[in-house]
């Protein structure tokens, strides 16, 4: 703490420029007398870093006109005549730092307040001009056109050692270009701008856009994807429209693109979008990159790392401490190790001062990163060479070589040394004095005062606040005061204030006598002789001469003793996923023999008593009696227990990031849940604890044609990509009824078409009519020869219509949210007329009324067991629905649409025995093979059959009974859940929490800043959840 505050004080000393010439750009008229100075400076005897790794001792640096002229050993660099020579012996010179993530000098833009259902929808952009249709896409914005030199902001960056920054207005999804500017504030914008368009910027956040679309993360991703296609199309067909946004986008394609991602998962998402568009993004993340190191490394991206470490939490209260998520506790501990981990893994990165509310924390935090294992060289590289190269400005900044900008920092010590003080920051050849630090006098001296015997004179403390101790004779120590300014010293001490060991105090107040007062000494320091000398007065007024001579060897030894070597801090391990119940690695596909269980096959074989099932390499290898256990395998006794296929939830909204509905338009078939799978949702683990092994993660039901599904297995610990079932067919959400027509969305939502079931039909008719025409147009174009294609104005690739074409070609399958019979009949009619099939009606609570028609169409039904009466369209819902539809010959499933019910789907299936009299085996099929069939996954999942995926659950009881608990849940032959493993994980969580809580208590005691338990919302998605705010669990 003391360290930080003193530094703060220092930095504040002087931030104004040394006041060289107010240079005017050549084209500008001048008022007053011409003052163009030669600007030639020579820095001699420096310890010079010409770049992050090249150190030259006793070096000379020559600059002229704001540029480096020469930098090298004193022996090789000649000092030109007319140079101002500065002897910087003992000091260190580094290239000026570069920050690629700032908004220096550009106006701030406030994010629009999202009011959800409280305001009427806004379909169109509010931006005036020939720009893109979406307000969050504005690649035409150029930071260079908005940039204004700003003394205060520049000063704050310079104080940290920065000489140049990339600046950008951080607003919107496509943000436009960023400019590279120096932090010189004496010159005009024209001269400090090093590169007008140095990079482009992107994010998934709408920022100031008030337009509804996109209303979800997957919408943002779809919008980016489509915009890249639109720009290509616009470039090829320039006469179709003058779209200044798309033109700008095409022009900036060659620039480095910096993507601001909200966390590690969004970093992966961004990289995927970039790859599709042929752009390798540079990714600015949250500082949690260490949590998915290998996957992020595989992106090939360079990362922009902020040094924003969370404060410790207040954990004194045992109840409140429980509310802090494990991942937040762990992140507190691991965040400072982020840069070191990336560096050790060979992931390229740059460092930024962004995200720090208090920019003065930058250097302390940087030192902390070093303390956690980042090498000083890597740190310097990430602040100089890498950002310069990233911006293709390595010939101008980031190093000190002839011809480059004269941006450098003069330091009192090695850059990251604890006692280093940044003295001067030179930007484009002009000096900005950061601090005036007295020379460092600390050391051990001999002291001679008048005729008194020789003693010792110790200067300790910090260079800027020396502490004085005088040792007249060995064993006695006297504390004194010393101030030194410009080598002028004043010393005051009282010879009677002897500190004789600890705890010893003056026994009684001494009689005031003449000799009891203080000795005062004044004098000066000479560098050559390393000696203080001068005159003084003893307490009794006797004038004396005094002299303190520095003992070099003793001083160096004292310095070494005080330099502490910090051990590498102890931190916990990274978990996959980085959350409670995460593991250091996923369970293996161990060969497993489950013996003597009652096996519910969900196949023709039915229920097999006293049967063994062998799982090998993730597959069900054998089913039979008394199977032999292969070598290396393990066996589980299933006596008295029941083995069922893993449960498949046909309709789930868990594990989705950034909203399940892109309900801002009636048709959003371009959005994909597969883009936003959240592999860290604890709902996955809880599903496993309920015997669920796979699910369809569906778009919500806010619009007639929603987004594309993700089909996942509950591979807790895998990446979002790896959770998805390879080779699974594409699915898409359709919806009918009240949600689609916004019946329950309040008075403001009465504008978006459709508002009735009549309109809903027309949305489908219109969409498929357009899709048919589009398909024809595309086919005609694709038939043309390459040369003819060049001459023809091709159709615009439309991702929304692509998805509908896939439906018509049976490459994508519909899961349609539906309730009442009129609308079900309607969609069947539309499908017949337009030539597509409705694969599944989901919810389908009035399916029992139209089971015959659904059967004729070939539709599947996925329903709730007993939900009803929560809205008008479910007043006729009955729990006998599943049984009647089954008896009418339909393939029926029971789904959850609910993170809680999902983990009890076996019980929901059991209700069909009670309501409607299905057999128990039929009931279990409703959550195993039947959903597998409707998801077209029954070839490898959904039943216990040799050769199928080893997705099985061992239950303590009949799986349809409320008393049954999954004892083991296997996914791909991995034991993803078991009661014993769960107990171990609980114990681990407790232990880890306790360990970190203790560390936080220690940190707080040591003066570290703290924060209250988080109040971030952790909640759940439902079918009709809008926007990105979840319903709260706690």
């Amino acid at each position: 703490m003391a360290k930080i505050s003193s530094e703060v004080a220092l930095v504040a000393v002087i931030m104004a420029a040394a006041g060289a010439a107010q240079a005017q750009p050549g084209t500008y008229p001048r008022n007053g007398v011409y003052d163009q100075r030669p600007g030639v400076f020579a820095f001699t005897h420096a310890t010079l870093f010409t770049d992050y790794k090249t150190q030259i001792n006793d070096a000379t640096l020559i600059i002229k006109d704001g540029k480096v002229v020469a930098a090298g050993p004193a022996t090789k660099v000649k000092i030109p005549t007319g140079a101002v020579v500065q002897d910087v012996r003992g000091k260190f010179i580094y290239p000026g730092l570069v920050d690629v993530f700032t908004s220096y000098g550009v106006p701030e833009v406030k994010a629009a307040e999202r009011q959800g259902r409280r305001v009427p929808p806004q379909f169109d952009t509010q931006k005036v001009g020939a720009y893109n249709w979406n307000q969050a896409i504005h690649p035409e914005v150029n930071a260079a056109e908005q940039f204004k030199v700003n003394n205060e902001q520049a000063g704050a960056y310079r104080a940290l050692g920065f000489g140049a920054v990339l600046t950008q207005q951080a607003d919107g999804i496509m943000r436009g270009t960023a400019a590279l500017v120096s932090l010189n504030t004496n010159r005009k914008e024209n001269e400090v701008m090093l590169l007008e368009k140095a990079a482009s910027g992107l994010s998934f956040e709408k920022g100031s856009s008030t337009q509804d679309y996109p209303g979800s993360l997957m919408g943002s991703i779809a919008l980016l994807r489509q915009t890249y296609l639109d720009a290509q199309w616009n470039q090829r067909n320039p006469r179709r429209e003058q779209n200044l946004s798309l033109q700008a986008l095409s022009q900036q394609k060659a620039l480095p693109a910096i993507f601001q991602a909200s966390d590690k998962l969004s970093a992966l998402r961004a990289d995927k979008v970039g790859d599709e568009a042929g752009q390798q993004y540079v990714i600015k993340g949250r500082g949690d990159e260490y949590q998915r190191l290998n996957d992020l490394k595989a992106t090939g991206a360079t990362f922009v790392l902020a040094l924003n470490y969370p404060d410790a939490y207040n954990v004194e209260d045992v109840y409140d401490a429980l509310r802090i998520p494990l991942e937040d506790l762990k992140h507190w501990e691991l965040a400072p190790a982020n840069a070191a981990r990336l560096s050790q893994a060979g992931v390229p990165f740059v460092l930024t001062a962004a995200d720090l509310k208090d920019k003065k924390k930058f250097l302390p935090n940087l030192r902390k990163a070093v303390q956690y294992g980042l090498s000083e060289q890597a740190a310097l590289q990430a602040l100089t060479e890498t950002p310069a190269r990233l911006l293709r400005a390595q010939d101008r900044i980031g190093a000190l070589k002839p011809g480059m900008e004269a941006n450098f920092v003069v330091c009192s010590a090695r850059f990251l040394a604890d006692d280093n003080v940044l003295l001067d920051n030179w930007v484009q050849g002009e000096r900005y004095q950061l601090t005036t630090v007295p020379a460092d006098y600390r050391g051990v001296y001999t002291l001679k005062i008048g005729e008194q015997p020789e003693g010792r004179f110790l200067i300790q403390g910090k260079p800027e606040a020396p502490e004085l101790k005088i040792v007249p004779t060995a064993g006695d120590t006297i504390r004194g005061n010393m101030t030194v300014t410009s080598d002028m010293a004043t010393v005051v001490f009282n010879p009677n204030d002897k500190q004789k060991g600890r705890g010893a105090k003056a026994a009684e107040p001494k009689k005031p006598d003449a000799a009891a007062g203080s000795v005062r000494l004044s004098g000066y320091y000479t560098q050559e002789g390393r000696v203080f000398q001068g005159d003084g007065l003893l307490a009794d007024g006797t004038p004396v001469k005094w002299r303190a001579v520095r003992l070099e060897e003793a001083s160096r030894a004292a310095r070494r003793d005080s330099a502490k070597v910090m051990p590498l801090p102890v931190v916990g391990s990274v978990l996959f996923p980085f959350a409670a119940y995460g593991r250091a690695e996923m369970p293996s596909q161990q060969t497993t023999l489950i013996k003597n269980a009652t096996v519910w096959t969900s196949e023709v074989a039915g229920k097999l008593e006293n049967t063994d099932v062998l799982l090998v390499n993730g597959k069900i290898s054998k089913i039979g009696k008394s199977l032999a256990l292969p070598k290396g395998g393990r066996s589980i006794d299933g006596t008295g227990k029941h083995l069922s296929p893993g449960i498949i939830d046909e309709h789930s909204h868990i594990a989705v990031a950034g909203g399940v509905n892109e309900g801002t338009q009636a048709v959003t078939s371009e959005v994909r849940v597969s883009d936003v799978v959240d592999n860290e949702d604890v709902g996955i683990y809880r599903d496993l604890a309920g015997g669920v092994v796979a699910a369809q993660l569906l778009h919500g039901s806010a619009n007639p044609i929603g987004g594309q599904s993700a089909l996942v297995k509950m591979r807790w610990g895998a990446t979002p990509e790896a959770m998805q079932i390879a080779g699974a067919p594409g699915f898409i959400k359709f919806a009918l009824g009240e949600n689609v027509k916004q019946s329950n969305w309040g008075e403001m939502n009465v504008l978006r078409f459709p508002q009735t079931r009549m309109g809903t039909e027309q949305v489908f008719m219109d969409a498929f009519t357009r899709a048919k025409e589009y398909e024809k147009e595309m086919a005609a174009y694709n038939k043309l020869s390459k040369s003819k294609q060049q001459k023809t104005e091709g159709p615009r690739r439309d991702l929304e219509l692509d998805a509908l074409v896939e439906i018509m070609n049976r490459q994508r399958f519909i899961t349609c949210h539906s309730y009442v019979q009129s609308e079900i009949n309607m969609l069947l009619g539309v499908a017949d007329r337009m030539g597509f099939k409705v694969n599944t009606f989901t919810h389908i609570l009035e399916g029992y009324k139209v089971a015959d028609k659904m059967k004729a169409h070939g539709a599947n039904a996925s329903t709730f067991s007993d939900w009803w009466a929560y809205k008008n369209e479910v007043r006729d819902a009955i729990p006998y629905n599943a049984a009647i539809m089954t008896r009418a010959g339909l393939n029926v499933a029971i789904n959850s649409d609910d993170a809680e019910m999902s983990r009890r789907l076996n019980q929901e299936a059991a209700k069909t025995v009670k309501y409607g009299g299905l057999t128990e085996e039929e009931a279990l099929r409703l959550v195993t093979i039947n959903p597998a069939k409707m998801l077209h996954l029954d070839g490898k999942m959904g039943s216990i059959k040799e050769g199928k995926d080893a997705d099985v659950v061992l239950w303590t009881d009949n799986p349809l009974s409320i008393y049954a608990r999954p004892e083991y849940t296997f996914v791909d032959g991995r034991e993803m859940f078991s009661l014993t493993a769960d107990a171990a994980l609980r114990a681990d969580i407790q232990k880890e929490r306790q360990r970190i809580v203790q560390a936080m208590l220690t940190a707080k005691k040591g003066g570290a800043p703290t924060q209250s338990a988080p109040s971030k919302a952790q909640g759940l998605w439902h079918c009709d959840t809008l926007g990105q705010e979840k319903e709260l669990a706690e």
Binding site: S743, N872, Y880, E900, S1015
Partner: protein, 433 residues
Amino acid sequence: MRISLTLALASTAFTAFAQVPTPALPQSKPMLITGATLHVGNGTVVPNATVAFDKGRLTYAGPAAGFTQDKAGYETIDAAGQQLYPGLIVPNTTMGLTEVESIRATVDEQEVGALNPNVRAIIAYNTDSDIMPTVRTNGVLLAQPTPRGGLLSGQSSVVQLDAWNWQDAVVRADEGQHLTWPQMIFRLNPNEDATALDRRQKARESQLRDLEQLFGEANAYRQLPAGRKENLRLASLAGIFDGSKTLYLHADYGKEIIESVRFARRMGAQKVAVVGARDAWMVLDFLKQNDVSVVVSRIHALPRRDADDYDQPYKLPAQLQAAGVRFCLDYQGDQETAGSRNLAFVAGTAAAFGLTKEQALTAVTLTTAQIMGIDKDYGTLEAGKSATLVLSQGDLLDMRTNAVSRAFIDGRSISLENKQTYLEKKFRSKYGL
């Protein structure tokens, strides 16, 4: 009786039963149920039991061997192989107050304003709801319609689920006051800063001051002599000080539970129960030491925090049982009106996660009755109590076996038909199933 009922069914199918079934007539002759396994509700199980009741009251409930009266004059139900239970009681419910959750016109559960102790749920209780018949079909025969929202939400009553109107339905009127304890945990919107936390903390403190003021004045008010100026609010709170009304404290977080109970005791409330109590596991000793009963929110719920045990809600009843805290189970939450028919299954889950089946049954019968002060008449099947009982083909608490064959409220044999059984028959006939 049985034959005539079946005939009635056949003749009126698809017409009369599209309506809410007609309330059953008062018990006209003594009934005898023989051969069933009797689950008394207090933990006792009697195989091959005999249960006799007349004029709505149980005259015998015990081993067959112990019933020595002449069986002539009784109408007998041979229930061999079946299970016999007290009618289940769903506490803290909006059933009867809400018909269709999303249609405002059908929702009567929350009055405007924060302090509504004078508001009475029983007034809005709708005996003609389509929902009630579907709930009792699964064995729930009594309910506690409860107002929601604000701070003092109003008063609850206990009703039976087969009635002509709310007066007819009342078992115990206005037996409780409901105080929704202000939450301690505040949530920030993404665009709010830390000052918002401060503001909410202040607002909460002011709410607590208002409550303290109101309770203090209400306690003083009741001591004023007759002829005082009438104040409906203050008057309605009198019962919590003299013990005639229970003060139900709706709180979930451990610290909220402690804070609310201490508040209630300080204010002089005689009978106190905590409702919700999803974090009761944090404060088991406190609950035991202060002799506080708990109405546990629907345990078919997700754990409150990511790191909580996946089965924390499921095992909460067992934790309360082990700690010696009196508790019952409710079905509060999403879709609670229609979902109340699953009350038996939350008890089943509690049994799967640590309770015995009989303990789980007690948590939806006897302790519920005790907490609501109706255990003299309801909650167990013992001679002298109301003949409010359920006969099931199998274990009532497991959906795999729950199949109610007969149900009686105060000795009246109620219809097990409902809108949904009607629709089932209608469409089965369409497909010839």
